[in-house]
Amino acid sequence: MKFIRVPIIKTLRGSPFQALENHANIIRESAGLLEEEFKDYINEQFEKFDDKRKKIEELELKADYIKSNIRNHLPVKFRLPIDRDTFLSLIGEVDKVEDLIQDIGEWILIREKPMPENLKEDFMRLFQKTLESIRTCEQAVDYLNILVKSSFAENERKKLKEITHKLHRIEHESDIIERNTTRKIFSMENEISAAALFHLSKLVFLFGDIANHAENTGDRIRALLAR
């Protein structure tokens, strides 16, 4: 940088939207790993867990680093084309999704006991819904980037708004599955141990929480879009 005096160089900095997209890619990768881990759990292949758990942990650290990097490199003097505070809380919500993926990975591992046969189907359904909410959340983040590229074109704005509506719908559907599954677990309270009841019902809660935070992500994005 010595002997360079071009003020334009100080005017711009890397796009935080691109960084957010990188974060979303990490979520995509960990969600894939979680899917494998969860299938192993359902199929009672507990010995396969450990390396996946470790990989998810590494990814979570990487995502955390991206998150703080975005925060540290957005001083107040930098103007974004959108509201800065809402954008920062959007990052928080997206990162929460990644945190929960890691939490679930760890929580499954804490109690290596087979799942009662008649709950498996419900859990698979709940898990599929969670995956759907994660994917839609990524899609929303990716689309935010397209919106910036198009300089907030109206038609792209509408499409992004539709994605956020979809996140709402998924959260609602996930809620219903969550309630039914919990009810079913408690209806079996005499057949299963108290430990199993606690472990399974918390698992349900964690899955449901992912959909909640994915929905929050959508809400933050909608707040960014509001004119």
Partner: protein, 406 residues
């Protein structure tokens, strides 16, 4: 003394080429529109053409607009101009080392004021100086405004359409027309006296219009040949950026041309005066500008680009990849327009600052992901600092040289 003047003037031109050229080419290299080698060659050609064809208006202002040569003893005036060159070069070198975004233009204007102030503060043509300083404030603002409007037009007519690529093919010929019109107008209207050609306003408008039209038709045909099919929404904007790459190269050339036209004066202006005095031309209100002085200035700039400028261009290119071709096109077209306009009016201004203004203008139109407004503060500091420091440097050097020569 003439030799010292030529060397300093060359150094000044080298400095202009080495650093400021990155303004025109940095974004194009950053977006991958041009390879570094091509950028250096194109910059060299267009800087030289700008300096040679349009450079004399501002050169005239520098050599006799800021102070009135008729009020000086000739040899004292020559020493003064030499001191200004040395002082401005010195300050620009120090500031560059410190990484301050100072402008060569502002340094030379300050330096010329400096040596005159030592003799008599009333020798400075305050009216002209106020014009120049005001234009330093107006030019980035108008750059921002024009860039804002251009980007808004692109947004409304291209980006917000369902098929932006098809929309671009319709709108872009108009931009091509505008660019070529401005460029040829700046060359033809009162411009070709170097080549003993002088057209009136009407003919100039007519010829420029024809040049623009020709470019527009060629552009239209070339654009029609591009067939960018896109797969999804993200791809759509990436392909659009690719289409704009060609136009960004065009505006980059225009900025290089405009920069040559405006900034060659910083090196050539004082030298032209000194050469005239040595040739015994009676320096009255009108300095004749020997063509070889402009050629020398242009050559110095080209030398600067090829010896150091390419490093600055590649550094900048890596740093500002945020400026995609659509954004770069808007900012550069605006910069070129403003700089050429002021060059024709004979007002020396800082291309870097206009470019920053233009980029901020695109940012205000929500075209950029992040914009650092702190840079405005840096620029204002450089305004406040440069004039007094260049004045002091020039005054001290002047007194020393006067003692030495007389």
């Amino acid at each position: 003394m003439l030799i010292i003047a030529i060397i300093t003037s060359l150094y000044m031109a080298w400095n202009i080429g080495a650093n400021d050229v990155a303004n025109s080419m940095g974004t194009s290299v950053g977006s991958g529109a041009l390879t570094l080698k091509k950028a250096v060659i194109i910059a060299g050609v267009f800087e030289f053409l700008g300096a040679f064809l349009v450079g004399k208006h501002v050169t005239n202002t520098i050599s006799n607009g800021i102070v009135n040569p008729a009020l000086f003893e000739l040899n004292i005036f020559a020493i003064g101009m030499l001191s200004s060159l040395i002082a401005a070069s010195l300050w620009v070198t120090i500031a560059t080392y410190l990484g301050l975004p100072v402008s060569t233009t502002q340094s030379i204007v300050g330096a010329i004021m400096g040596f005159s102030a030592v003799l008599n503060i009333h020798l400075i043509c305050w009216g002209k100086v106020i014009d120049i300083v005001t234009s330093w404030i107006i030019s980035p603002l108008s750059g921002a405004l024009v860039a804002y409007i251009i980007f808004l037009i692109i947004k409304k007519t291209i980006l917000s359409k369902n098929n932006p690529i098809e929309a671009a093919k319709k709108t872009l010929p108009i931009f091509i027309f505008f660019t070529f019109f401005v460029m040829s107008m700046s060359i033809i209207y009162k411009g070709l006296t170097n080549l003993a050609l002088d057209f009136g306003l009407v003919y100039s408008l007519l010829i420029s219009g024809l040049a623009g039209l020709a470019a527009m038709i060629i552009g239209y045909i070339l654009l029609r040949r591009y067939n960018y099919e896109y797969e999804n929404n993200e791809d759509k904007y990436n392909k659009l950026e690719k289409l704009f790459i060609h136009l960004q190269v065009m505006t980059a050339c225009t900025v290089a041309f405009a920069h040559g036209a405006n900034d060659v004066a910083n090196a050539a202006g004082p030298l032209a005066t000194i050469v005239d005095i040595f040739n015994g031309v009676s320096v009255s209100s009108k300095v004749t500008i020997p063509l070889w002085v402009l050629v020398l200035g242009g050559a110095g700039i080209v030398l600067g680009i090829s010896t150091w400028g390419y490093r600055v261009i590649s550094t900048i290119g890596k740093k500002i990849t945020e400026i995609t071709p659509t954004r770069g096109f808007s900012a550069e077209l605006s910069t070129a327009f403003i700089v050429l306009l002021f060059s024709k009016l004979g007002i020396p201004l800082s291309t870097s600052h206009v470019l920053v203004g233009s980029v901020l203008g695109v940012g205000i139109a929500r075209g950029l992901a992040t914009v650092n407004y702190k840079v405005i503060k840096n620029i204002i500091y450089s305004w406040i600092l440069t004039i007094p420091i260049a004045m002091i440097f020039s005054a001290v050097i002047f007194l020393f040289l006067k003692f030495l020569f007389i």
